[in-house]
């Protein structure tokens, strides 16, 4: 019976074909470690956010007079409303944590490098969309920090030359953050996740075209690739289990950990909180914003702090294959950068006084300095490894790949597949 149904479908829709292509025959390097699970986890949490968000929207009122109360209505009167809300509020933090690790992995293992530039760029687009969505979502509970956070961040657009003031009013729909802002943020907060879904689809299509990178950073010999299913489905599911233990640990035992006390006070435009602090995932960028004395400069620096990642494929000029594993210079840079990001995050949470101003400036300088140094470091590093030779493991992997490429070249020549042949030759050229 089931077979018949599948046969019926397969005649009309390439279901079997797709399962084979994307799962049971989709080749994945067998040496992937658990750092490669975070993309899947991020997708999982996206679904958690979508589902919990839709249920929240059924009870939430996007009106300045009712928004705060409607959250408490959800918490106290809706069946399992507290669960839905805490899933969503904890989910937002979890999403960023997963995405940051996912991006950190990409940087460490050099997964942004050829031919994965488009994968990298769509990923960064996803990060920006995620940030926008989180920022708008944070206004919705209409607490003090919601209000003042939105007030401060929308005001930043006032630095736009000539039309600054109009841009701010256009964003807020009013002179100050108010009912118009709340309703439009709600509308967009509901819309953006669907744009994110489309971007994820593109991200995945790009991934399945170029295939996963791997810890060595060198394309593996075919025998070292194994099908996604069952090997990585079960591995990712185990990873998911570990993640869920931590995630639900927070949801059930410390959900308030992710909610600032100030945001349990209803928004009051007449009372400014002593310090306005964004959510933890914005802190490093907020620190960069405040480290530049000039407002326009600060906003530009903050935007650049993320946009500069787009240039990674060009800034990294080394031809040494692989990620940080075979590249001592780059490895140190990545570590310094990770630490610097932590410092920035810490500074972002403090009032901009005394030592923190200086610390913030130094950390900002280091942050951008690393990007500017990368072209030189990567070039030097390449020269050095030409002289000293690559580690034996890397040599072996490259040799194996070349052998395989040569074999397929031979095969393709016989088959007269000109297009594919060109590709292979290009790759061979790059590798030598």
């Amino acid at each position: 019976m089931i077979k018949k149904v599948f046969a019926w479908v397969d005649e009309r829709f390439p279901l079997d074909e797709m399962i084979k292509h994307e799962l049971t025959e989709y080749p994945v390097p067998r040496n992937l470690n658990y750092m490669w699970s975070f993309g899947f986890l991020a997708m999982f949490i996206l679904i958690v956010q979508l589902v919990s968000g839709i249920f929240l929207a059924m009870h939430y009122k996007a009106d300045v007079g009712m928004a705060f109360d409607s959250i408490q209505h959800i918490m106290r009167e809706v069946n399992y409303g507290w669960l839905i809300r805490y899933l969503h509020s904890t989910g937002a933090s979890a999403f960023f944590a997963l995405i940051f690790i996912h991006i950190g992995r990409t940087l460490y293992y050099g997964s942004y490098r050829r031919p994965r530039e488009l994968l990298w760029w769509t990923g960064l687009l996803l990060l920006l969309l995620l940030m926008a969505t989180a920022f708008m979502g944070y206004l919705l509970p209409w607490g003090q920090m919601s209000f003042w956070g939105a007030q401060v961040i929308t005001a930043l657009f006032g630095v736009t030359p000539f039309i600054g003031e109009s841009v701010v009013i256009w964003l807020r729909g009013d002179f100050v953050v108010g009912d118009a802002t709340l309703t439009r943020f709600f509308a967009l907060h509901y819309l953006f996740p669907f744009i994110i879904c489309v971007a994820v689809a593109i991200h995945l299509v790009a991934l399945h075209w170029v295939k996963s990178s791997n810890p060595s950073g060198i394309t593996l010999h075919a025998k070292d690739n194994i099908p996604f299913h069952p090997y990585f489905t079960v591995k990712d599911l185990f990873g998911l289990g570990v993640f869920l233990i931590i995630f639900f640990g927070f949801v059930f035992f410390a959900p308030e950990f992710w909610i600032m006390p100030e945001n349990n006070v209803p928004a009051d435009p007449m009372v400014t909180p002593p310090h306005i602090v964004p959510e933890w995932y914005f802190l490093p960028f907020y620190a960069i914003l405040r480290s530049i004395p000039d407002p326009l400069g600060g906003v530009v620096a903050m935007a650049m702090s993320i946009l500069i990642f787009l240039a990674m494929p060009w800034l990294d000029r080394s031809n040494v294959p692989g990620g940080a594993k075979f590249r001592p210079g780059y490895r140190i840079m990545v570590y310094v950068w990770f630490v610097d990001l932590m410092v920035l995050g810490y500074v972002g949470a403090q009032a901009p006084e005394g030592i923190f101003v200086l610390l913030g400036r130094i950390a900002t300088f280091v942050y951008f300095g690393l990007f500017l140094l990368l072209p030189f470091i990567s070039k030097r590093e390449e020269r050095r490894s030409r002289v000293q030779g690559l580690p034996r493991e890397a040599e072996r992997l490259i040799r194996e790949e070349q052998e395989e490429l040569l074999r397929s070249e031979h095969y393709l020549r016989r088959e007269n597949d000109e297009k594919e042949l060109k590709n292979i030759r290009k790759r061979l050229e790059d590798e030598s």
């Binding site: 470690n33 106290r76 079960v234 349990n264 933890w280």
Partner: protein
């Protein structure tokens, strides 16, 4: 190394978040707040009898007090003009409250989560009153200098350690009740949570074994 890095980043993230939370907490008295029904019930009585002259708890209904084990008679004994299904609103008209204190006293339903270390904040606030001068005319508060709320538990008037201890016990019970009020589902949340985590640990262990088995087919 990699694992260390992940761990490190997680720790740093927590530290940052903790830093945000701790930065505003001043000289709080770090008492442990017990969550027994008795403490909460005593707290509820003080809150209804004293605090609700000025404050409301608009997200709570009197009937909800059954959740902390109060009997219907106990609750009705607390009521004045209200019905048991009414929300816990102050009976003093809002204009009068505003006029007397220059501002409407804040709603207390979320107070325990609306300040850094909320329960300790409430406890400290109530037991931090003192007389500004020997004439004993005007009180002030160490935690919140210039507070517009009078010394409602008369802490500054207490003359002996016993009296002070009694007021401190009251402040503790009030904090205990307000912790419940800020999140009435907390108890059932933790109960369900235990089962969820237990289930996940078993499931994850099985998944781990399954993973090992599936991968063992590779040579």
């Amino acid at each position: 190394m990699r694992r260390l890095l992940v761990l490190l980043s997680a720790v740093a993230m927590f530290a940052t978040a903790q830093g945000v939370m701790a930065s505003a907490a001043g000289a709080l008295k770090m008492v442990d707040i017990d969550s027994s029904e008795q403490a909460r019930q005593r707290g509820a009585e003080i809150v209804v009898g004293t605090c609700m002259m000025c404050h409301s708890l608009k997200y709570i209904k009197f009937a909800d007090l059954k959740e902390i084990g109060m009997k219907e008679e106990q609750i009705t004994a607390l009521l004045e003009d209200q019905d048991i299904d009414d929300r816990m609103l102050s009976l003093t008209p809002i204009e009068i409250r505003k006029e007397s204190y220059g501002k409407v006293p804040p709603d207390l339903s979320l107070m325990a989560v609306a300040r850094q270390k909320g329960p300790q904040h409430i406890y400290t606030l109530l037991t931090d009153y003192y007389y500004k001068s020997a004439e004993q005319e005007e009180t002030d508060n160490h935690l919140f200098p210039g507070i517009k709320m009078p010394d409602v538990l008369a802490y500054a008037d207490a003359e002996s350690d016993d009296e002070r201890a009694e007021i401190e016990a009251q402040a503790h019970d009030v904090a205990s009740f307000l912790v419940w009020a800020s999140d009435p589902s907390a108890e059932s949340r933790r109960t369900i949570g235990k089962y969820v985590i237990l289930y996940l640990i078993i499931l994850t262990t099985l998944l781990y074994l399954l993973k090992r088995r599936v991968w063992s087919k590779l040579h």
